[in-house]
Assembly symmetry: C2
Homo-oligomer: 203 residues x 2
Amino acid sequence: MLLPGPIQDLVNAFSRLPGIGPKTASRLTFYLLRSNDDLAGDLAEALQNLKSGTTYCQNCFNITTAGRSECEICASDDRDAGIICVVEEPLDVLALERTGAFPGRYHVLHGALSPIEGIGPDDLRIRELLDRLRSGEVKEVILATNPSMEGDYTAAYLQQQIRPLGVRITRLARGLPVGGDLEYADQNTLLRALAGRQDMSQE
Amino acid sequence: MLLPGPIQDLVNAFSRLPGIGPKTASRLTFYLLRSNDDLAGDLAEALQNLKSGTTYCQNCFNITTAGRSECEICASDDRDAGIICVVEEPLDVLALERTGAFPGRYHVLHGALSPIEGIGPDDLRIRELLDRLRSGEVKEVILATNPSMEGDYTAAYLQQQIRPLGVRITRLARGLPVGGDLEYADQNTLLRALAGRQDMSQE
């Protein structure tokens, strides 16, 4: 059976989202069709405001409300301007903020270097990062790119670029995830956990 | 960290969809923010057209394109008007159509009887079903409500109502799902599979 056009259109649009297959897409569509409150309308409105209502922070390139030049974190006096945490995506900022343990500011690269996909240093916010570091205010850069091939490559490239500036460079620790199981840990994670083992005899 | 308003609005709207938690909602939102093609715009448009572009078939109450009085199945001469399959939701029609094995037409109740939730016979399309059956054209009614408490209750109620009309009444078979595992089947399913066991000695 062919679905009516407007329904098929929405199923197709939902299917283009990551992690949503055709079955979930039609389940969502029929849910919206049945819902009494105007969830479909609310969603449509939120989607339309998404890009027009947001912009990038001129300092760290995190997402912020349109009309502001700086994001909340860069604008806050409570954050330590001496430490910058470099991440790939705005969602990574969110994940780190959830820990509540990072006192500094961020720099969002908007991607990672990937020779295969043709993403070079000029496609990322690397020049802007180096400019920030040259201002002299920053004492430490935490490279928090993803623990993937591209993320590691990006961190290595940044290390090379930042080293002449005399800023301390650190990278997030690798090892076993909390709550994980040694038995199911993959080889590379175990290798990293072994290489990065911490001394308990001094404690 | 507080998310910028337009982002939080979309995360909230996505979170109201079934099966989408706050984490998936923010993943989808940031995906849309990053995507170069106008997926957010396409989604918004499809959502706005959803309710305005669809209506219910006057015959079977399945969803159809706005401006049509009958759905494709009711309008088709290839479908057997002598068999009606009664389902709870339009999605159930889709599931049965995927099998390609049903030659008849449908009747969508839009729900199931539920004394607990206060859903009675007048809240469903039961009167319209009985009217269709009284026309005399229909030889068999397949009760394909869900194999749940509400679905079974609805089927029993319909059976009572339809019996005086002299139409053959059937119910979809219960038993072990194809590809399932006897070991993991729940007690009720096994009970049904036992009670409905089929004779192989005559084959």
